[in-house]
Symmetry: C2
């Protein structure tokens, strides 16, 4: 409502980080909160999260998962049962020591993730192979006390989903782990228009307590990597820590094999930084709160024209809604059309329809495309039929643009010098020996980390580590990049 | 899966409270958690909550409300800004004193409700009358450290929605308060089949910080009351406490008027105790996870019959799903049909279809009604068309049964003796003077509390207080009852 929002953004090439923060606040996705490191997600940002939830949740349910809800507070002693897990999470715990006016006997941690309390429950719920698999998910808030925070990307509290499954065999659990990674990848590409690399994390980048961590990695427009979703195979680590056993078909007691997988509102950060430009956000239609904004145009002193335009806009609104399009009519008074155009461009609405008296006469409207910036007339008569196709076309173009950008910013490197240059521009494929010390050295000296060993990509056969010269530790070249 | 679930429940008339706990756990709605006073909501219970959310959320959005998300943690100093609010909530706060391995400078409370942190934000977001109204809601978890807890009814952590709106005038805020109460009432009656009394709380029962609290009150099958949703008019209390001002149309600075309104998973408790019987749950079709369960019937040794029955069941499943019916096929092996019938009756599935070889020949299935207990044959051919009607009929019958029960358990009383007798059976309408001491005396001596001054109901004109003999403090007789 205030004019200040209309000021332009810092250009991406000047200061990408400043651009990001500005666009988050100016597009009204979020606001700062009085509690350090946490944000208020405003309606426009939350509507994106609701769309993410709706599509992902449908994919989870279509693959047999059910939602449930575990308590927020977890006894701190639970974390100590799995050695890697406590090492990974205890530095970030927020702890409730007092409640109801009294000191608690045992401090309770706010969940940073729920493997422990869920493991404890699974040990009670599972007795027989007939109780398996358990395919559960929860949508909830979690808290990790981070020192450096950024809206959506790293906040002390964040919203996410965490899936937790238990299986009779290692093979089944691994298949689930890989299935859920593929669901994340499909979701990212189909709904988010985010091309992602699917791959496995190196041992140093695994989730605390996991035997294997799989990831989808997206490239932001500054060439940096963002981990957009992860799926973990726990083996029987948590089963042993929480004594989750079952009687198998031969009536032998065995440990279950578990998985967990999560995707958070970080995904909104990925959308912003993959698609946005100097004008602001560009949102993929399947996740955009408004897919189309209609701006009626008339002279302030011409009441007849105004009535005629608004009547037609009303009809259009109804027809588009019926066609399943999320349409917003901006009929606010006292603002010029140009001012409105700027606002909705900054907020990344994919398509804009402008409709004035002359358009009415011609039975047409002007369609503006947020991605290409092009404007062209479209017939009003069958707009409800054609607009869904326009949105699909938009989504395809958005995906292609992101994929082209990414493909132009990843290259195979063969020397440390090439590696250093490559990670300044984007990602590199580099043969790596798999040595943890070498991975750390590379991070310290180039700021790049191993993003994943991709499922697809150049083979490492016959090549040697760009850093140590030792033989490759993995079948494929590793993707390295600087990361969020 | 375990046979123990099949044991019967304590009859309601014997020990309603025991019946309640048993049905919660045996119908697999929830489980105990390792943290005192909190529960794990299992998939069957959570699916009810998801249906509640879906319908309510649509009603909120249809009336112009948007969702957003505020942080979980609130500086404890925020609570001290509104005198009644701090008095009401500080005894129940859970407080984070340590995070990230360090003591915090200011302790942070886990939200028991979010008026304070939202008030602080609104003071920044609102400058002009053009920014008003703000019509926001959030779905979230809250925590209140209760001493005596019961699953769904009173748990330290619970899930709910809290709406928070700000308006330019008192009239508008009051209209919003009343509108949201009516939405709760409509939701309860239409989707939950819960007849409710709509009314205003007496001053002693108001929300901490509110000027008026409105409530919907339902009657459980033990005659007790359950407050199923509340809507509060705050006047400018929170606006003054958090300095939420705006420039009005005349450019004069004024305080906004705010409202808040909430409905929690308590509503699941209301469903259980309004509709359930000695066999277990009875769920209203709009909120039931499964509206229809199909049980295929065949002899274990007759593979041909089994294949034929399962083929027909598969077709039926697909047809019912296409018709928008939430249908569950129970094709588990190694359990008798009777065992399955018991399980689904305990879990309150409204309708059951039994389909065996003889039914197949007749082109029919047996339809069993969870409410009436009746079974009758129905034609398979057009079941997808007729079943939605059967579900509507079921819902209407469920509502009528609850309303008849309620109407039979509420009466007008004129003396203290009648009052005492009446609240042992259900609710009473009693004239009350409005004196807080008298209200307390009645609670101490009869365990009944003023549930509400109903919008509709017997006039109090000309009658005097059943307790003090003083003139009525309200235009209508007050509804009293023992409450959850
Ligand atoms: Zn190396
Ligand atoms: Zn009295």
């Amino acid at each position: 409502m205030t004019k200040t929002k209309q000021r332009g953004l810092t250009p991406q090439h000047e200061d990408f980080s400043a651009w990001y923060n500005e666009v988050v606040y100016k597009a009204d996705l979020a606001d700062l909160s009085p509690v350090r490191g946490s944000i208020i997600v405003k309606p426009y940002g939350y509507a994106i999260w609701e769309n993410i939830q709706r599509h992902l949740d449908a994919m989870f349910k279509a693959t047999g998962h059910e939602n449930l809800y575990f308590p927020l507070l977890i006894p701190t002693s639970f974390f100590e049962r799995e050695a890697d897990h406590v090492e990974g999470f205890s530095p970030e715990l927020a702890v409730v020591t007092h409640a109801g006016g009294k000191a608690l006997e045992e401090p309770l941690a706010i969940r940073p993730t729920s493997e422990t309390i869920i493991g404890e429950a699974y040990s009670k719920w599972i007795q027989s192979y007939r109780d398996l698999p358990l395919l559960y998910n929860q949508w909830c808030n979690v808290l990790r006390w981070e020192l450096r925070t950024r809206p959506f990307l790293r906040t002390t509290e964040f919203l996410w989903q965490e899936g937790h499954t238990a299986h009779a065999t290692a093979e089944e659990a691994m298949a689930e782990t890989r299935q859920m990674l593929e669901i994340y990848a499909e979701f990212a590409e189909r709904y988010g228009a985010l091309p992602v690399f699917r791959g496995e994390k190196t041992p140093g980048e695994r989730f605390a307590g996991a035997q294997n961590t799989y990831t989808i990695e997206a490239m932001m427009r500054d060439g940096k990597a963002l981990q957009a979703g992860t799926s973990h195979y726990m083996g029987d680590n948590f089963a042993r820590a929480f004594n989750i056993t079952f009687n198998d078909v031969n009536n032998q007691q065995a440990f279950v094999h578990t998985t967990s997988w999560g995707l958070s509102w970080r995904f909104i950060g990925a959308l912003i930084m993959t698609h946005g430009d100097d004008k602001g956000l560009i949102l993929p239609p399947p996740l955009a709160p408004h897919q189309v904004v209609v701006v009626p145009i008339y002279r302030a002193d011409d009441d007849a024209a105004r009535a005629a335009v608004l009547a037609e806009v009303g009809k259009l609104h109804a027809a588009l809604k019926d066609a399943g399009v999320r349409v917003k009519v901006d009929d606010r008074q006292g603002m010029s059309p140009g001012w409105k155009f700027n606002e909705w461009e900054q907020k990344g609405v994919p398509l804009r329809l402008e409709l004035g008296p002359k358009d009415l006469e011609a039975g047409a409207a002007l369609l503006a495309d947020r991605l290409s910036g092009e404007k062209r007339p479209v017939k009003l008569a069958n707009l409800a039929q054609t607009l869904p196709d326009e949105l699909e076309r938009f989504q395809a173009a958005l995906f292609e643009r992101a994929r082209d950008f990414r493909d132009a910013h990843i290259r195979e490197v063969h020397t440390l010098e090439e590696f250093r240059e490559g990670v300044e521009e984007g990602f590199v494929y580099a043969t790596h020996c798999g040595d943890a010390d070498s991975e750390r050295w590379l991070q310290e000296h180039t700021k790049a980390t191993a993003r994943c060993v991709p499922f697809d990509g150049p083979s490492a056969e016959g090549s040697t580590c760009v850093h140590t010269g030792k033989p490759s530790g993995y079948p494929r070249k590793v993707i390295f990049g600087k990361a969020y």
